[in-house]
């Protein structure tokens, strides 16, 4: 089986350019997360791949099977793409039983009745809904409905499974369980999937590869660890994780190291900018990478501790100095007053 390839996809709704040239590919067996803030175009991209939105430029194909190609004027309707799509609202047909919801795709493909029965039962068993085949959607819980929606998209073995925020309608506790369950299911069945989400933790947990979208363009593509530990842009750095932002002046920028000035101190970090010295610099560092110290030292700033907050498994500390506020975590609370806050050079990105 070949890769699903999206090339320079462009899409407009009214005067609004939603997708501004998106390219990505999904290799067989890979789970790709489309991640981005609301309005970044991730759901639109998924719907365009499914054939529910009309692009005006670019191409979508799996090997020789061309779904869409603007230059060749090809546009397959959704029903001829053979993909599986799980809707955010699940979109289960209320007038059909669980069995009939799942069986419909096979029925449309002219599968013999006996085979439909065995395949639907097998799929329902795989997702743990075997005994509920005769129920109607309104008789199921949210989690069960979600599984039916997945079964309906899986049963005819689509080359790629498309998931549109499938976990967003579940409550927080259930969502974490469903996340692990979904990842296991996809891996055991060896499926390829594109998973849309606005939740970065969910994206990193479930995907082999994360595509970060920003206002209709790809901000960064890479494995979850790369996105988290090595963001390419300020947007990517700020979108992933919880961050502190330091605004200062760039003193030096050479050999991958950048030095910025803050309150007269020299703070060293990893250069993420080509800018020459003298300009503005923005330092980004994850909350959990900030340390507290009791004495001055390299890459440390003197700051006032304000408001320690108890979060259960740890404390969150907020330090301030003039306009700057820095948050970090600690195992135990510190005394309010003056402290030195350290920014390890390898964990601070300077943009």
């Amino acid at each position: 089986m070949a890769d699903l390839v999206v090339k320079d996809l462009r899409l407009r709704l009214g005067d609004n350019e939603i997708l501004k040239g998106i390219s990505l590919n999904v290799t067989p067996g890979q789970v790709v997360a489309l991640l981005g803030p609301s309005g970044s175009g991730k759901t639109t991209l998924l719907r365009a791949i499914a054939g529910l939105e009309q692009p005006h430029g670019g191409a979508i194909a799996i090997g020789d099977h061309v779904f869409y190609d603007a230059t060749r004027g090809i546009e397959l309707p959704a029903e001829q793409r053979g993909l599986g799509l799980v809707f955010q609202s699940y979109a289960l047909w209320p007038h059909r039983s669980v069995f009939d919801n799942v069986a419909y795709g096979l029925k449309l493909r002219g599968t013999p009745v006996a085979e439909i029965k065995s395949r639907v039962e097998k799929t329902l068993a795989q997702i743990g809904l075997g005994p509920l085949a005769e129920r109607y959607p309104h008789q199921l819980s949210g989690g069960q409905q979600q599984r039916v929606a997945i079964a309906r998209a899986l049963v005819y073995e689509p080359p790629v499974l498309l998931l549109d925020e499938p976990l967003s309608n579940l409550d927080a506790k259930l969502r974490e369980e469903a996340r692990a369950w979904l990842r296991t299911l996809i891996v055991t069945l060896g499926l390829s999937a594109i998973h849309v989400t606005h939740d970065q933790v969910e994206a990193m947990a479930i995907a082999d590869k994360v595509v970060l979208l920003d206002a209709g363009i790809v901000a960064q593509i890479g494995p979850p660890t790369a996105l988290y530990n090595d963001p390419a842009t300020l947007f990517a750095a700020e979108f992933m994780g919880s961050n502190n932002r330091l605004d200062g002046t760039l003193l030096e920028n050479a050999g991958g190291r950048a030095i910025m000035e803050l309150f007269g101190e020299r703070i060293v970090g990893v250069a993420r900018t080509q800018a020459a010295k003298g300009g503005k610099a923005i330092g980004i560092i994850r909350l959990e990478r900030v340390h507290c110290a009791s004495m001055p030292g390299p890459n440390r700033l003197k700051m006032q501790l304000k408001a320690p907050m108890y979060l259960g498994e740890r404390w969150e500390l907020v330090f301030v100095r003039e306009q700057l506020s820095v948050r970090t975590y600690a195992a135990a609370p510190l005394q309010p007053g003056e402290h030195y806050v350290e920014f390890p050079p390898e964990a601070l990105w300077v943009f």
Partner: protein, 556 residues
């Protein structure tokens, strides 16, 4: 079948059905003789003739006075009624609601006959009043009575739109006014009703427009005084010159449509505006109804009095009349009771056919119509194309044609197209006319139902592998079954009530109760008319009962 073929087909047939009658009328209006007459030539002489006729101008101005008067009566009463019903603690609200809508569903000719036999010069209430006062203190056959009755019977139309708007409005502003010290009437006049102004304005234009469609009331109540409105003027033209003066009728039809079409267009704009206005919704909190205290019984009595005048008096009158041989001064009721009029109905084969045809057009015709409306609605449903606008406008065209006019236009189509002529004297002609006249209403019912089906349900079917038509067949249609059933019931009610559309198409085989009533009234067969009216009312009553029982919303 690919969806594009389906859409082309549906759009083509609809356009033809709507545009053909209209174009034929316009064409006919510019001829010197009926279109089938070989001596017919193109000319504007028909226009000069009609515009030179003082009766035409008399009818024209009378129509405007009646339509304006109707609106002046129905709008304030309907709006106030809506406020009382939606916002206050008036007693028995839930039982009053369906009763209020009765005047919408009862045929206007039946109401008119009812008034004649109840409060006409020798009506039962008139004779009673004469016994008490020595004279009849009212005169049914006056322009004023006609306007008053037309106004009172159209209160429900205003009520429907005002009540819907009020329900969508948050009560915060009203509560603020009460806290500031306003009494219920002040709340209504200063806050609530101004807030739903756009909806009331829409209802006002609607009632004014319905004034031009009025036919049954002026035909029955205006005739003895020679009060003509445009529709009755058109009706009388049929016989005016002895020969079929189609070109003159066509001119009158063109004039009527020239007035109603802009009104329909205006309603469309206003409705859109009104809906935008109402979208300022509250938090959906169930608030306490406004307490009217002692006034609640006054409000209740006022509503009951209005129901008495507009529903009880005419329906009681016509029912009683159908069971007596005669009445008048000195006649004892017990001595004149009879069932003969109902037996007599069976002696007339055309009346029997009319009753069966009416049931048939309501039940079977209604079902086919709903199927057609659904087919059209499905063709344009979620279709991202400029062609959907065409359907929007197409639907408005028949709306601008009063039933009498549409029936006439359809008759001409059947005469004009040789291929269709054999259908002229079958119920197919009636069905086609009814379906076209009620196209806008039916489409609104069906589209309303369709909008409740989420787009992702159809999309899910598409992704799973169903093409567009298959997805509609397997997902959308099963999901709107209940809505279609409800639409069928409502279409049954209006088809059974309909009287004006079938008048020109009336002939052996195409009798329906409505058009028979009009033609029998012309012969003075009051016994038959009253019995047949009661049969009609009973049919509608049964339909309404089923609808209320099934919880069908009585308005689209």
């Amino acid at each position: 079948m690919p969806i594009i073929l389906y859409r082309t087909l549906v759009l083509g047939v609809t356009t033809l059905a709507v545009v053909a009658p209209l174009s034929l009328v316009v064409y006919q209006s510019f001829l010197t003789a009926p279109f089938f007459d070989h001596s017919a030539r193109a000319s504007v002489s028909a226009y000069s003739f009609v515009f030179a006729d003082p009766d035409f101008w008399q009818a024209f101005w009378t129509t405007i006075v009646i339509a304006g008067g109707m609106a002046a009566i129905a709008v304030p009463l309907g709006a106030l009624l809506a406020f009382v019903m939606v916002r206050t603690d008036v007693p028995a609200r839930r039982h009053l609601e369906p009763l209020i809508l009765i005047p919408i569903f009862v045929s206007a000719v039946v109401i008119a006959f009812g008034y004649v036999v109840a409060v006409g010069p020798v009506g039962i209430f008139s004779t009673m009043a004469k016994n008490v006062f020595g004279v009849v203190p009212w005169n049914l056959y006056s322009l004023f009575s006609l306007i008053a009755i037309a106004g009172l019977t159209h209160v429900p139309h205003v009520y429907l739109y005002s009540a819907a708007a009020l329900r969508g409005l948050s009560t915060d502003m009203e509560e603020a006014a009460r806290v500031s010290g306003a009494n219920p009437l002040q709340v209504a006049l200063n806050v609530s009703l101004p807030m739903i102004g756009p909806a009331i304005l829409f209802a006002g234009v609607l009632v004014f427009f319905l004034g031009f469609e009025l036919f049954g009331l002026p035909l029955v109540l205006g005739d003895p005084q020679d009060v003509l409105v445009l529709s009755t003027y058109l009706f009388k033209l049929t016989n005016k010159l002895g020969v079929p003066s189609y070109q003159l009728m066509a001119v009158v039809v063109v004039v009527i449509i020239a007035i109603t079409a802009p009104l329909v267009f205006m309603q469309r704009l206003l409705l859109r505006h009104a809906q935008r206005y109402v979208s300022v919704r509250g938090k959906g909190l169930k608030t306490q109804p406004l307490k009217l205290h002692a006034w609640r019984w006054f409000a209740f009595a006022a509503i009951v009095f209005w129901l008495f005048i507009t529903v009880v008096v005419p329906l009681f009158g016509i029912t009683l009349r159908s069971f007596v041989v005669t009445w008048g001064e000195g006649v004892k009721l017990a001595e004149v009771l009879t069932l003969d009029h109902y037996r007599e109905l069976l002696d007339y084969p055309n009346v029997v056919r009319g009753i069966l045809n009416t049931l048939g057009i309501g039940v079977i015709g209604g079902a086919i119509s709903v199927a057609c409306y659904t087919a059209i609605a499905l063709a344009v449903h979620r279709w991202n194309s400029g062609w959907t606008r065409l359907v929007d406008y197409l639907v408005m065209v028949p709306r601008a044609m009063p039933g009498l006019v549409a029936g006439l236009a359809l008759l001409w189509v059947f005469l004009f197209v040789p291929l269709l002529s054999p259908l002229k004297s079958t119920m197919a002609s009636i069905w086609l006319a009814y379906s076209i006249v009620w196209l806008a209403y039916g489409m609104r019912l069906v589209s309303g139902t369709l909008l409740q089906v989420g787009p992702e349900l159809e999309e899910a079917a598409r992704v799973v592998g169903a093409d567009d038509l298959r997805a509609k067949r397997d997902v959308t249609v099963p999901l709107i079954k209940y809505g279609m059933l409800a639409s069928w019931l409502l279409v049954f009610l209006i088809f059974v009530r309909e009287y004006s559309t079938g008048i020109y198409l009336l002939g052996p085989g195409t009798e329906v109760i409505g058009s028979l009533l009009v033609s029998l009234w012309g012969t003075g067969a009051i016994d038959l008319v009253s019995a047949l009216s009661v049969v009609n009312v009973v049919m509608i009553g049964v339909g309404l009962g089923v609808a209320v029982r099934l919880g069908v919303r009585l308005h689209g």
